[in-house]
């Protein structure tokens, strides 16, 4: 009996356990019998244990290169570096399903443990929902794509990990995304529980708010990692292509952003309850859609997993869940109607609602554009697709509106604001924004692109608003407590983490969009063929192809490529001199027809981009060497006996270096790209601050538990 059998057994029992959680949770919810809720909760804990076992078994198989496991044979090999052996698990369909449900069990156990003394009404139903989602993924693994499938004749060597994925960012990208998707399942489950129990208060929000925020943070981080990888690894030099799979991860993030704003309105004013429930349902559905789009192949994308059998069950599941959720919301709409009304148009509630509408609008545009091939085929019979110009053209102006709203929101308070107080708060940041606009227009070429200029000015505006909020708040504290400025500031931020964490996130988003505006409006790209000695000029750089390089078994980027052809380029910018070394890695093909030497040149090839970061701009270089002249030496090498293959390859490589033909280069200068990643970092920092639990609340909670215990024990004594 192999460990694969143990793994399958764990999944089978896990499936049964998840179904049990559904039944026990639902029964407890219906009858109010507590012991069944406890039992259901324990079932989730047990599920976590089983999935940990499954993960450990699978990872162990990867580490010892057990090729009887079909997954290990498909995307690992004995010479794959250990880090990639461990992370290869989720580069496959079945493995990523296991990761998804493992994360779900982990988060579900955490939330059920944390709420074990609270929310007695709705946790049973929430447990049932969580169990149900887990059961679906386990069902897929048992009947469609098992991670523990075995091969009757284990091959001696595995296929190895797809070279494109041999990059740390690509290995963290799926777990981050899945943490995001799974994280949003938690508030969804509790929302469903609250609806079933006709609980209209914000308790379910309070219990799951942190999970939603964590999910949002991880999803955003995952999306950012994906675009960083695309920019620094792929040969096209961009960070966002409006590819269907990219869009599929962005949509739940947008509705998730809307959600974390609008739940504040429900907490403060009891309004927007139907809206919030609908939003979390939409976010969960989009998260499932995001998971499913990658696996279905229904949309053309460089990401599509080819023909996949998972498409149909996923679609059925999403459709059923959607119908059930909508039916539930509609049936409870009278319970959810709030008495509170909007007092004034100039209020934080209204601006949060505007923010929500703008985010939903962006999401709708992206959804429409992503599914347009299917929509147009259904409506007109011809499949049409829209590309980046469509998305960029429509979304760029909306993004400007969003940044403007994010600056105005903090200036307002709930219910009512007077024009006078708004004017007073508005003046300084507005002056800063206008001054920034004027300065940029006069001293830089920013005015060449009005949308970019607008975004830069709005970013300055946002920053000014946040700085003003910090100084005004600090001053207000000082008049009350007389603290010194640094202490007042740190106490202000420390006691109002949610508020200032949120403001920092706004700054981060503005900086990120500033980077997007700069790099998309002012970048320059040149595709040229250069012979050694030739130069190309791009913006203020002079790039000269000095000499070719060949690396055998010594690939610079550590991906294990046996062959790497590249170039040394001398770059001059004013007084600066530096060298860059882009290359192309060649991975051997398993196809014997190409010959023992030829197969090293005929397999996958990846671009190893050389990138020089800069605060003002990036220089990005990629090379596509011309290997056509090597066909002769390769053929001759193929004719030799196999044991001379290694020497033949060296000879072929040397012939490239001795007489290098012109190579194709792509050079891109993108201004302000670094600010995208920096902005993302600022967003993470702000989110972390908002998530951080405050010490006073914790202290009060702990002492109250002790007081309660004391009270109980005293009464028994």
């Amino acid at each position: 009996m192999s460990s694969a059998d143990v793994g399958t057994a764990a999944l089978v029992v896990g499936f049964g356990t998840a179904l049990y959680a559904v039944g026990a949770g639902a029964y407890s919810g219906l009858t109010g019998r507590r012991e069944w809720a406890v039992s259901a909760r324990r079932a989730i804990y047990a599920l976590l244990g089983l999935l940990v076992l499954a993960m450990v078994l699978l990872e162990a198989a990867y580490i010892r290169s057990d090729f009887s496991f079909e997954l290990v044979a498909q995307n690992s090999s004995t010479d794959t570096p250990t880090f990639y052996k461990l992370t290869a698990m989720w580069s496959s369909q079945a493995g990523s399903l296991l990761l998804w449900v493992f994360l779900l069990a982990l988060f579900s156990s955490a939330v059920l443990f944390l709420t074990r003394r609270r929310l007695r009404d709705i946790t049973p139903y929430a447990t049932a929902v969580l169990g149900g989602v887990a059961a679906f993924f386990l069902f897929l693994m048992l009947f469609y794509a098992s991670p523990f499938a075995t091969l009757a004749n284990a091959p001696a060597e595995g296929n190895g990990l797809n070279p494109l994925l041999r990059h740390p960012a690509m290995m963290f990208h799926p777990p981050m995304l899945y943490t995001g998707y799974v994280g949003f399942t938690i508030p969804f489950a509790f929302a469903v529980g609250a609806l079933l129990k006709r609980h209209t208060g914000p308790e379910w929000i309070r219990a799951t708010r942190r999970f939603a925020l964590v999910a949002w943070t991880f999803l955003g981080f995952g999306i950012l990692l994906g675009s960083l990888w695309s920019y620094s690894e792929l040969g096209w030099g961009g960070y966002w292509a409006w590819d269907p799979v990219e869009n599929a991860s962005l949509m739940p993030w947008l509705t998730g952003t809307a959600f974390i704003h609008s739940i504040m309105v429900q907490e403060k004013r009891g309004m927007l309850r139907i809206w919030n429930t609908s939003l979390i349902v939409a976010t969960f559905m989009l998260a499932l859609l995001g998971t499913f789009l990658v696996r279905s192949g229904i949309l053309d994308s460089i990401h599509a997993f080819g023909e996949s059998t998972l498409g149909k069950p996923f679609l059925v599941f999403i459709a059923c869940a959607l119908v059930a959720s909508v039916a539930l919301v509609v049936s409870r709409r009278n319970d959810l109607r709030s008495e509170a009304r909007v007092d004034a148009l100039l209020s934080r509630e209204v601006f949060f609602l505007l923010n929500n509408l703008v985010l939903i609008l962006i999401c709708v545009v992206i959804f429409w554009g992503t599914f347009f091939p299917l929509i147009s085929e259904a409506l007109t019979g011809t499949e049409e697709s829209v590309g980046p110009p469509f998305f960029n053209g429509i979304i760029a102006p909306i993004a400007l509106v969003l940044v403007a709203l994010s600056a105005l929101g903090p200036l307002l308070t709930w219910r009512r604001n007077t024009w006078k107080s708004l004017r007073r708060a508005f003046v300084v940041p507005l002056v800063v924004g206008v001054a920034a606009c004027a300065a940029l227009a006069v001293f830089t070429t920013a005015a060449d692109s009005l949308p970019a200029l607008a975004m830069f000015s709005l970013a300055a505006f946002v920053l000014a608003v946040v700085l003003q909020e910090l100084t005004r708040g600090m001053r207000a504290r000082r008049t009350m407590t007389g603290e010194s400025p640094p202490i007042a500031l740190s106490r202000l931020v420390g006691r109002n983490r949610r508020r200032y964490g949120g403001y920092i996130v706004h700054v981060g988003i503005a900086v990120l969009l500033l980077g997007v505006a700069g790099s998309s409006s002012f970048h320059d790209q040149k595709d040229v063929r250069l012979a050694p000695g030739e130069t190309v000029k791009i913006k203020d750089y002079e790039v000269t192809y000095r000499e070719p390089t060949v690396a055998i078994e010594d690939d610079r980027s550590g991906t294990g490529a046996p062959l790497s052809f590249g170039a040394v380029l001398d770059v001059r910018k004013g007084d600066e001199h530096f060298t860059m070394r882009p290359a192309r890695n060649y991975y051997p093909s398993q196809d014997g027809r190409m010959g023992p030497v030829g197969r090293f040149f005929g397999g996958e090839a990846t671009s190893e981009v050389d990138l020089r970061w800069g605060l003002k701009q990036d220089l990005w270089l990629a090379i596509q060497p011309d290997l056509r002249k090597l066909k002769g030496p390769i053929r001759r090498g193929n004719d030799l006996p196999e044991r001379f293959a290694g020497q033949a390859i060296v000879a072929v490589a040397r012939s490239y270096v001795d007489d290098p033909p012109p190579a194709a280069f792509r050079a891109i200068v993108s201004p302000l790209v670094v600010w995208i990643w920096l902005g993302g970092g600022i967003v993470m920092a702000g989110a972390l601050l908002a998530l951080w639990p405050s010490p006073e609340a914790r202290r009060r909670r702990v002492t109250s538990l002790y007081a309660a215990r004391l009270g109980r024990e005293l009464s028994r004594a």
Partner: protein, 88 residues
């Protein structure tokens, strides 16, 4: 065949954990803490009161509006505290 035995073993372990509350009933549950829900509501209300005060001090609210809001929130907080006391 061995897989079936394995499934049975794992299922038995899970059942041991999961069915115990059903057999032992009350003692299995961590003591119900209705305080926890009220404590959370209390924390939220305190945060609202402080938020409103900060907004007033920063000049976003008129004094009249703030006094009215503050009184309303404090009344709601006292309500929660009364409910907490009732539990003791």
């Amino acid at each position: 065949m061995e897989v079936v035995i394995l499934v049975a073993v794992l299922a038995a372990l899970v059942a041991l954990l999961v069915l115990q509350p059903l057999r032992v009933r009350a003692a299995a549950e961590p003591s119900a803490d209705p305080r926890a829900d009220l404590e959370a509501a209390k924390e939220a209300k305190y945060r609202e009161i402080k938020d409103a005060e900060l907004d007033f001090q920063m000049g976003k609210m008129s004094e009249e509006d703030w006094r009215a809001l503050d009184a309303e929130l404090r009344a709601q907080a006292i309500d929660i505290l009364r409910q907490l006391d009732k539990l003791d």
